[in-house]
Symmetry: C2
Subunit: 222 residues, 2 copies
DNA sequence: CTAATTTCTTAGGCCAGACTAAGTTCTTTT
DNA sequence: AAAAGAACTTAGTCTGGCCTAAGAAATTAG
């Protein structure tokens, strides 16, 4: 059973989309930028390999074996992101793209050495937890910024990567892991949020806000 | 015109085998561990792409365009080898294998950043010159250890990578770039050489000696 | 509850890059 | 210079991973 790069990419994507549930083939197609029939084909193959369970017309769910591989790839990805930033001085918004290519190629040895160089870190530059070597994803209690009550404060925990443009924009507003944010006002319907981040106040669209995850404010630690 | 990893590997291999001349398809097949027909097929395609000149039943030679790509890959490879050793503490004999995978994947940005971190180095851990960004391979005047006169001394310049076992063995005898070696005696026919490396004396087979390149002794710099 | 729409799958093909088996052409030997 | 051997190529296949076009199931609408 040979695990190709394509397979790794499917498993990783399914894992990230799936966090606790079935994943639709169309969602996978969208994320991987391939056609839906390609996904169906690959998904059948992965089911044969016992890396996931597949029910026609319904969806897909990783088996423990599939999840294990996915977590290895995610670990590689997040360690690489952090390493690129910390050791090579990559800007925040460029680490994702490079890690995307390297994650499929590095050896166990490489993984260990950068993990060591980084002091066995637990989160990547965007605040995402790094799975451990034995395939456990440290749980973090976060909720969407949208869920914060008007007037309440919270600490930014994660900012979703993927789109460098959005990431740059969020960064320009001050949304980094660790930053404190206060929700001043939520416009009704799908209107924007008024928030305070550090000194500044901004209006933030809902779509954008959905990419910011926070935990209860812990001002002391900032 | 899409340059795949396979194409990069062919061009690199042809370049390294070719240093000034035609390369036989069988040599490529041997090095890349593919069948001769596979090489013929690929070589035809590369000729179409104007990356090399190909004469049936004869051999192959890179065009400037092909050589440019080859040199980029070689630059990646050698920078990576050095980075793995210097920055991540890889042992001498393991850098090659990892670099072999990474060389096809890293971006220009990555290349620049590790080059900078290393202080724009000129040779890799095995003593091979690193091509510059604009595709020039710094010339180094070296000859085979076998060519050294009996009684003469020389400075080790390069040790060919590729086979980790051989590399480890050579290292155990003291053959690093920079080491001084004296040829004490050459057995006739294909017999071994007696050499002194540092304090120790060793008998070295011709095959092994062929992998050690030296320049005129410059004791001062050691 | 049927019809329209969306979502997913099947069918059939393409391309890259590898392979084996069966020729060619070049080289060496005698 | 003919024959034997080595080196290289052609022919025909296979596999992985993708695609489009067309059909089946599930969902939503009326």
């Amino acid at each position: 059973m040979v695990i190709t790069q394509a397979i790794e990419d499917y498993l990783k994507t399914i894992y990230l989309l799936g966090q606790g549930g079935e994943v639709a083939t169309s969602a996978i197609a969208l994320k991987l930028k391939v056609s839906p029939p390609s996904v169906t084909g690959m998904v059948k193959k992965l089911a044969e390999m016992k890396l996931l369970r597949y029910t026609r017309y319904q969806g897909v769910e990783l088996t423990p074996a599939g999840e294990k591989i996915a977590l290895e790839v995610v670990r590689h990805h997040r360690l690489l992101e952090l390493y690129l930033q910390e050791a090579l001085g990559y800007p925040w918004d460029k680490v994702h793209e490079e890690a995307e290519k390297l994650e499929h190629v590095i050896s166990e040895e490489f993984e260990d050495r950068i993990a060591e160089a980084l002091g066995w870190p637990e989160t990547d530059p965007h605040g995402h937890p790094i799975p451990t070597k034995d395939g456990v994803l440290p749980a973090v209690a976060v909720r969407e910024l949208l869920a914060v009550e008007t007037g309440q404060s919270a600490t930014v925990r994660q900012v979703s990567d993927g789109d460098p443009g959005m990431l740059r924009y969020l960064a320009s507003l001050g949304f980094f892991p660790g930053a404190t944010v206060q929700v001043l006002e939520k416009a009704p319907f799908e209107g924007p949020l008024r928030v305070r981040v550090g000194e500044a106040e901004h209006a933030v669209g809902r779509e954008l806000a959905r990419h910011v995850l926070v935990s209860a404010a812990t001002p002391a630690e900032v």
